[in-house]
Subunit: 354 residues, 2 copies
DNA sequence: TTGTAAGCGTTATCAT
DNA sequence: ATGATAACGCTTACAA
């Protein structure tokens, strides 16, 4: 039924009709090997031959079959992004960073969300790694705080980079930010405005991301000789709703805090919401600082003072690190792996009234 | 030097040490073919043999090499998500939908953002399709409105599904929502509240997504015999900033609109911002309706009345459609391909004062 | 520098 | 129902 011209020297892929390396070799009168060298930019081949082959490739519209290359090279052209983030903007910024790094390369980004709480977490990651065998993976916080995930990548021979706060494991597999110091700086700013009763909304207990930010909070208060009253530190899970609940707990205290630091912007927006429900004006009655500098920080009212977390840059650096191993990032300059965050002052902070 | 290990099949992949199908075949005393059948759930093989092979697979921790499968099957296990959306939440919701569809299958999602405005747009998409050869792609709006992209997929033999408003091309490659009718419904709601001077913030001129939503706006006004004054229809590009600018233009008119429909939530939030800059209260002085029902709609103040756009469901349906072709979605029920949107009433709408 | 031939780990064809 | 054996399209020793 299929009228394929089989007698003639295979013109194109049998199924798709796309030209193969054999077609290029035949038409340009060289061997597959030579074509392969042209494709892979081997430096040691005759200029004339190269041009002729390139011409045929152009004429034919030949593109090497990525599946075949992957099999022969024992690697594919995929960089995975594994995350468990409740925060949409964080994920998207990270994706942007990874994609910037992959720009111009043959690599593509495959995204894999997982559920940190699930008992099958490790199995889920293993399934992904074994069934896709990405060339490497970037692990986002807060998941990156899970030691087992990094260990698993190592066991399965998949290269990986964890993004997270400093002091977290092997630097070879880390891209870090100075969260502890950044939070300390933000809290110092509140103290400088005259605040003494400062509340904290942390991330989920036990995660390094949350821990490091809490430590920064404590550092700043300790420096100023301020003791945190009971109940001034409360937990959220990085969502708006948890921020509302945490803010409500904090504002129900007596005396209540005059300033609150929330460990991400989304929870900070929740705190703002809780304040409004209690008819408290921000920043007159309450100062609020968030963390991330996500777009929403500038969209709400009042615009949120926050710590800019360079997650796009970090994700880009992480992906470049993965590419660096195989010369894919020849001319790209290796970036530093410690990123600094800085305070962005907007309108949600003022001195306390009392 | 080459110890022709053909009679004594090498134990594991030469490089990675991972067990191969040969190891499984040897250890279970059957041929590769049989193992392959077990893997691919062929119905016609002896129950006993199957169990024995499965046992060996389990013991060895054997996982088929996806690259080799991809080459032999002439397809891979990747579903692409191509988009050019300025709106973070839309992208993330779409990703979620696609992932829900891929859940439990061997497929992974590879995300590919492009720049709609770029002159190299088509070349960028072509590069992605040719260099990754995904099994299929989902194209998000507003990019899905670009006929050339769908056509390109067809030419390259890559299956695709476009997500967008109804009446857009071949239904076989479409997952549609009734945007025109949904917007008309929202505007009717404003009219029912007594509004007669209603402004519209559209999306970029020429995109089907924007056009259909504008038509719905016009439908509702025409039904009520209302003529749109000059300047009451203004353009944005789906970003917050463009919403602020559009809102500012609208509110600078005299008489100004008493209600504004914005073609997405982010621009609606921009309109809210513009109103606040002019000391107008929402909804007392101005009613606002958005489109999407993105999370931010419930987070801002006042909570935004908006049209819920079932983008997660649509994306899931789109991906399932892609999988349906090859029996990957055997038991999953084919969903309808026309999705209806509905008005979510919150607090940004009231009757006009005058 | 270039050609020849042997993999890479699967699936598919054709016997049995 | 199962076993040899040939693809699949590319890379890479080894030779020339």
């Amino acid at each position: 039924v299929v009228g394929k011209a089989e007698q003639e020297p295979a013109a194109g892929d049998r199924r798709t009709g796309k030209p193969t390396i054999n077609d290029v070799a035949r038409l340009s009168g060289v061997s597959k090997k030579t074509v392969s060298q042209v494709i892979n930019r081997s430096p040691l081949l005759n200029g004339g031959t190269r041009e002729r082959v390139l011409g045929v490739i152009r004429d034919l519209g030949y593109v090497p079959n990525p599946q075949a290359r992957a099999l022969a090279l024992r690697t594919n052209f995929l960089i995975g992004l594994i995350h468990d983030s409740p925060n949409a903007q964080t994920v998207l910024s990270a994706q942007q960073g990874v994609l910037e790094a992959l720009q111009g390369s043959d690599y593509a980004m495959v995204v894999r969300p997982v559920d940190r709480g699930s008992p099958t977490l490790i199995d889920d990651v293993r399934w992904f790694l074994e069934h896709q065998r990405p060339h490497g993976v970037v692990i986002l916080p807060p998941l990156s705080g899970n030691e087992a995930v990094g260990r698993l990548c190592g066991e399965l021979g998949c290269s990986y980079v964890r993004m997270g706060s400093a002091e977290l494991g092997d630097p070879d597999h880390m891209i870090a930010s100075d969260d502890r110091e950044a939070v300390a700086g933000a809290v110092r700013h509140l103290i400088a405005q005259g605040h003494r009763r400062i509340g904290l909304v942390t991330g989920p207990h036990g995660l390094p991301l949350a821990t490091h930010r809490r430590l920064g909070f404590e550092d700043a208060l300790a420096e100023a000789g301020i003791t945190v009253p009971d109940g001034f530190v409360t937990e959220g899970n990085y969502t708006f709703e948890s921020g509302v609940a945490a803010g409500d707990r904090l504002l129900g205290l007596s005396p209540r805090p005059t300033a609150i630091f929330a460990s991400n912007d989304e929870m900070a927006v929740g705190v703002l919401h809780a304040a409004r429900m209690r008819d408290l004006d921000v920043p007159e009655d309450l100062s609020v600082i968030g963390f991330d500098d996500s777009p929403i920080a500038g969209l709400i009212w009042p615009p949120l003072t926050t710590v800019r977390w360079p997650i796009v840059d970090m994700a880009r650096a992480a992906a470049l690190k993965l590419l660096a191993g195989d010369g894919g990032a020849d001319e790209k300059i290796a970036e530093s792996s410690l990123f600094v965050s800085k305070l962005i002052e907007r309108a949600s902070v003022a001195g306390p009234k009392d």
